[in-house]
Structure formats: structure tokens, C-alpha cells
């Protein structure tokens, strides 16, 4: 599983770099313009952890990634996404693994635990024009499909669709959390930067797993 993580990180890095202008513009429009830089800084540092990550179990790897992201990304997204990985790793740590791999339901539940940590830290719900508008539907879809024993390929497809739908939904929402909330009505008409970057990252991971499958 660690190699999957490494592959996923590389895929994320590549995908983010490709979408730099788009993501940066969104945070400039209704935020403070640093979201891309923040996320990219974190991913770059995590990329450099490869050796360290290959030597530990997946749950520990995720927690290490979370802590590193929390201390390098900064901003709202750093503490949220860092917390996501820490909670994800912690969940796996408590789950029973077989041959040091996890069942898909366990991974889905870990993902959901991560999303739940964002929800609690950010005190936000669906529809507040944040990254949660992507993450909550994706977590729900993941849990559902995992319970249905869907194939990895099908799961990847479904998660990508859910992510894109959630990302697009933020466009017409009124922001009530995050920096964009200060804009009131003026926040409408722009996609949320964090939602966009999460969508890009989820697509990248799904594609990299798809390839691997």
C-alpha cells in the first residue's frame, strides 16, 4: 500500500502543477490568492519524504503525511488537510489489517474519518462553499461503493464524478465559511479554490489507482 501512496502523491503533484493557474485564480477571486502555493508547498515537502514513508506502515505513513502537511501548508487548508490525513491514519491504525493491507471498506471508513475531522475542525457543513462540498459526497459515495463491494475501477469512476459534481456545486453557493464568507453575496459565481484543488487531487489519485489496477 505504501507504494500506492507514493504513486498517489506523484500523481497529485503532477495534476496540481497542471492546474496551477486555475486554482490560483479561484483563490485570488474570492480568497487571498495563496491556496495553490500553500498546497503545492505541502505536496513538494511530502514528495521528499518518500524514503521515510516506504519504511513505515500505511497508517503511520498517513499520519506522518498529515503532520508534515499541517506544519508546511499553513492557512486554513493546511490544518484541515493535515488533520484529514492524521485522522485517516489514526483510523487505519485502529482497524485490523490482514497481511498489512486493508479492506476497501476500512480505507473508505478511514477516508470518511478524515473528512469528519475536517468537518469538526472547520465547523462547516455541506453547502457552505468549502472543500467539504467535494469531500462529503466523495466520502459518502466511497463508503457506499465499498459496502457494495464495487471494483476499484468502478469506485474510482464514481468518486471522480462525485468530486466534480461537488466542486461545480460550489459555484453558485454563498460562502459562509472560510475567507470567502467575508464577501457575502460577492462570493457567488466563483468555484471555491479548496473544492477545486480537492477535486483535482481526487481525480489524480483515482486515475493513478486506476492505472495500477
Amino acid at each position: 500500500m505504501q507504494t500506492l501512496i507514493i504513486k498517489a502523491i506523484q500523481a497529485i503533484d503532477h495534476a496540481l502543477t497542471e492546474r496551477e493557474t486555475e486554482i490560483a485564480e479561484l483563490d485570488r477571486a474570492i480568497g487571498d490568492g495563496d491556496h495553490y502555493i500553500n498546497i503545492k508547498r505541502g505536496v513538494t515537502v511530502v514528495q521528499a519524504m518518500q524514503a521515510e514513508l516506504l519504511n513505515v506502515d500505511a497508517d503511520v505513513a498517513l499520519q506522518k503525511i498529515g503532520m508534515k502537511l499541517m506544519s508546511t501548508v499553513g492557512g486554513a487548508s493546511g490544518v484541515l488537510i493535515g488533520g484529514f490525513f492524521m485522522a485517516f491514519g489514526k483510523h487505519l491504525n485502529l482497524a485490523c489489517k490482514q497481511n498489512s493491507t486493508y479492506a476497501t471498506v476500512q480505507i473508505a471508513a478511514g477516508f470518511a474519518a478524515g473528512v469528519e475531522s475536517i468537518r469538526q475542525r472547520g465547523k462547516a457543513e455541506l453547502g457552505e462553499k468549502t472543500m467539504l462540498d467535494v469531500l462529503i459526497p466523495v466520502a459518502e459515495m466511497y463508503t457506499l461503493m465499498a459496502a457494495n463491494m464495487s471494483s476499484n475501477i468502478d469506485i474510482a469512476k464514481a468518486l471522480k464524478l462525485a468530486a466534480t459534481a461537488g466542486m461545480l456545486s460550489t459555484k453558485d453557493l454563498l460562502a459562509t465559511k472560510g475567507r470567502a464568507a467575508f464577501l457575502g453575496e460577492r462570493s457567488k459565481g466563483h468555484i471555491d479554490a479548496g473544492a477545486k484543488s480537492c477535486e483535482v487531487m481526487i481525480h489524480a489519485v483515482c486515475d493513478s489507482i486506476g492505472e495500477g489496477a
Binding site: 495563496d34 502555493i37 499541517m70 464577501l183 457575502g184
Partner: protein, 344 residues
Amino acid sequence: MKKLINQVDDILTESLAGFALAHQDLVSVFYEPNFVTRRKQSTNKVALISGGGSGHEPLHTGYVGLGMLDAACPGYVFTSPSPDQMLAAAEMVEANKGVLFIVKNYAGDVMNFEVAAEMLTCKSATVLVSDDVAVENSTYTTGQRGVAGTVIVEKCVGALAETGANLADCKRLGDKVNSRMASMGVALSSCTVPAAGKPTFDLADNELEMGVGIHGEPGRARQKMRDADLIVAEMVAALLKDLKAKQLCYSENNPQNISENISAIKEVLLLVNGFGATPQMELYLLFNSAAKLLQAAGITISRSLVGNYTTALDMAGASITICAIDAEIKKLWDAPVNTAALHW
């Protein structure tokens, strides 16, 4: 973008290194995680720690020193610092009376300081600064942004902590100052975040952004450029309206103070703050303009501060902060302070 820098990624470290060299007598600077402490750490007092994205200098590093902060945690430009910075700073400066975090009300700052507070082993409290009235928060739950009034909170709480006051009292005073002040900014040009390489927003030659945030966030409205007196009149009206509402609200929470607080605002501290690219001549002109309005409203300006105290990189523009002061605040404001940016 033209800036006097080397590699964009090194700006913060190189700038902190210069700050450390220039103020060796006042501060110590630590790296990875980045934080600034007083050169001589104080004992037996509540440790005051603030922090936030860089680019607002002298906020917060310039306010570390006797009578003000014990430590400051600078994040990357306009990006809130991370919990490891606050934890390392707290470990260094905590002196048995607990830690008070002074945090500007932005989701990122709030959440990062929150994580730090949860991980701290000593007792702690947090004062949230939310003085920016630009965004009226009718339907929104996020509250107002924290801007230049932060300097007043840090100065007054700093002075109180120096007397040996306990954590609860420092927290009370911070909340009190916050509840009695209001700020609003106006931008004539955008700032340019180094890593972004281009202006955060565009303003036409005859436009201004009324209510701009200190990260170049949009405010109330894009307006036509006009005379300073007219701009200031709109700002001061908004500030007084907010202050009156706030004072009522404050007294509700502190029933014993009702009579003092619901009365009309009589005495204020007036702060005219430059955002980074506005000449002092203009700041004093704005001060004059605001002072005339306050005097006409029967309000006495008994303390004043004019200059670049909470900046937004190279943004042209300024903010006005009015803080309704009482005897306690006045005394704390006047108390000695010895930091890189405030000194009396």
C-alpha cells in the same frame, strides 16, 4: 512584479534573519519552526503569543518585547502559521502563568491556533480580534475579520500581563478592547503576493475598494475615487455605527458594566494605519479629516497613532481604527513598551 528579493521561497527566512540582526538587543529569532521571542524572556507573567501570515509587518514580530508580546509566529506571506510554531514558541516562553494566544479572526489562523491550544500541556486562552466592520455579518457566522486594531489589543494586554495579571484577566481585557473598537480600510491599489507574482485584484485608475481586507480581500464595494474627506466620512460613519452596536452588546455580556458602556462614546484612540505604499503625508491628512468629524460629533481623541502598523505588503491605502477607551485602557496604552515597532 518587481520586489527587492532573491528567491521567492527564501523571502521569509531572509527577512527574519535581517530582523534578527537589526534588533539583536530586543529579540531572538528561531527557525523551523519559525518564531520570534524577546531577547530577555520574562518570568512570572502570562505568556502572550500572537502570529499570522507574514506581509503585515510590523505585525506581529515588530511587537515582541517588553510591555507587549512574548512571542510571535510568522507564517508564509498571507498564510497562517502552523501549530508546531505556536507549540515551540509556547514551550520557550511559558512562565507558569499560562499562555494567551492573540489571534486575528480568519478561519486559517483560528484553526491552527486551536490545534496548538489543544496540544498545549499548560493552560491557555485565546483572544480573537475581529475589528473590521467592512463586512457586515448579518447572515454569516464567521464574524468580522481581525485587522489593525490587533495592535491596540496586543499593546494593552501586553501592558496588563506585565503587571502580573492572571490568564483570565488578560483574556478579559483582550476581549474588552476588541469589543470596544472598530476598523475599516480602503485600497487605492492591490498588493502583490510574491509567490503569486501579480496583483491580487485590479482597480481602475478612478476606482477604490472600500472596506478592503489586509490581504487584499474585497470589501464592501468598488467605488469611484473621490476626495479624502468624503472617503473618510463614509469610513467614520461605519465605524461609529458599529461601535455603538458593539458597546450595547458588550454590556449585555457584562451586566455590571452596563451603565459605563451603553453611554455614548466620549473618548477614543484614533489609529490611522497605512497599508504599505501610502505616504505619511496622506496618513496625517486622513487623521486630520477623521479628527474633524469626531470632534464635530463631540468625541475626544485622547490617544492617537499614525503610521504603518498593520500593512498589506505594498498595497496603497489605509485603515482607520477607533477604539473607545476608558481609564483602564488608557493607562495600559500609556504604559512603557519596548519593541522594534512601538517604543515609549
